[in-house]
Symmetry: C2
Subunit: 186 residues, 2 copies
DNA sequence: TTGACAAGTGGAGCGTGCTCCACTTATAGT
DNA sequence: ACTATAAGTGGAGCACGCTCCACTTGTCAA
């Protein structure tokens, strides 16, 4: 990759992150981003094939941070497995609440979720949840454990979460508690 | 409502259902639907405020059918609670597989899921799942039962389901089994 | 039957995400 | 230093979803 191209790539990501932070994600158009980064629309799209993918790229930093923090926490903590699970779950809820708009946009993109699911980062997120689920799930095989980790993540996607919060009137704590009750076996 | 307006409303729904059936949902534009129904774009949008809502309206017939069938099944069956749960789950999977495109489009619409969640039909779907979950969930309160019903539905949303099918390579049967294992307590 | 007007219509036009391709430029071999 | 060319650029233009409002029409009281 040419050096100037790499600079453009970086500049796009930084500009998009800034604009998404300053205004709502929906209010920022691809034209806005290109203009703010002082590049052409074509260049923008060659680097990030659509707006959802760009949001995903911006999110990756945040998700990476969350996963890393989680791993550090697990390596240091000495509390009970149940508390570990609840702690990670709580952190994940906090993280999602912070980045709600961005994550909602990604989750509503028709094709972009496939990219996310295939990424190493998603695998790391799943592994994180598997680690805290394993000791509280009773005796189950790895495939089923992974399925449950996916299920926890799926349940907290923006649509479902918004429904539980707004229509059902549940607090984040109540949601965490309901998930805990469902998942805890041992 | 004026009689001619009602006719237009019906014609739109019928035309959209036909076009969505003949071609892929994404390939059918709102202009196509208006043209095929021989009405103006404005009329189309006054009746259905966006494409996702129109998809939802088309889906409502199918969802209603599924819920009704499920209720009939429950009123007639004499098999064990576990088998009842698995049967309803299996039917729901089949139903979703049939209407995948339409449901995926609804689920990716940013605002339309709120409409769906608020509808009586969604409540009926939840109640259906609550009925089969209740005997296999151990002793839990109604709120938590409802939460679990929502969770089953959330897990089977198009994105998550597609991931389990395609990336994880699970068959519908395996997915159903994993959910069963998670939900069965009694 | 006839007017008055609420109710309904339709399509020009807007801003969006995104594609395409004629053009420009960094780079590596001479 | 000088090309040759692969690599990268940028914006005109497309199709889309959707809004807006000048216009038409069904309805109903007189």
């Amino acid at each position: 990759m040419r050096k100037d191209a790499q600079q453009n790539r970086d500049k796009i990501l930084a500009t998009a992150a800034k604009l998404f932070h300053d205004q709502s994600v929906a209010a920022v158009s691809m034209k806005d981003i290109a203009a703010a980064a002082k590049i052409g629309i074509g260049t923008l799209y060659r680097n990030y094939p659509n707006k959802s993918e760009l949001c995903l790229a911006v999110s990756f930093n945040f998700i990476h941070q969350f996963v890393t923090d989680g791993q550090v926490y697990l390596s240091e903590t000495t509390v009970s497995p149940i508390e570990q699970f609840q702690h990670v779950l709580q952190r994940y809820l906090d993280f999602r609440e912070q980045r709600l708009q961005l994550l909602a946009f990604i989750e509503s993109g028709p094709t972009v979720m496939a990219t996310y699911y295939q990424s190493e980062l998603y695998q790391q997120l799943v592994v994180l949840f598997m680690q805290v689920l394993a000791p509280i799930s009773g005796e189950i095989e790895t495939g089923e454990l992974e399925f449950r980790a996916d299920m926890v993540i799926a349940m907290l996607k923006s649509n479902s979460y918004a429904y539980q919060r707004q229509q059902q009137g549940l607090s984040p704590q109540q949601i965490a508690e309901n998930i805990s009750n469902l998942m805890i076996r041992a």
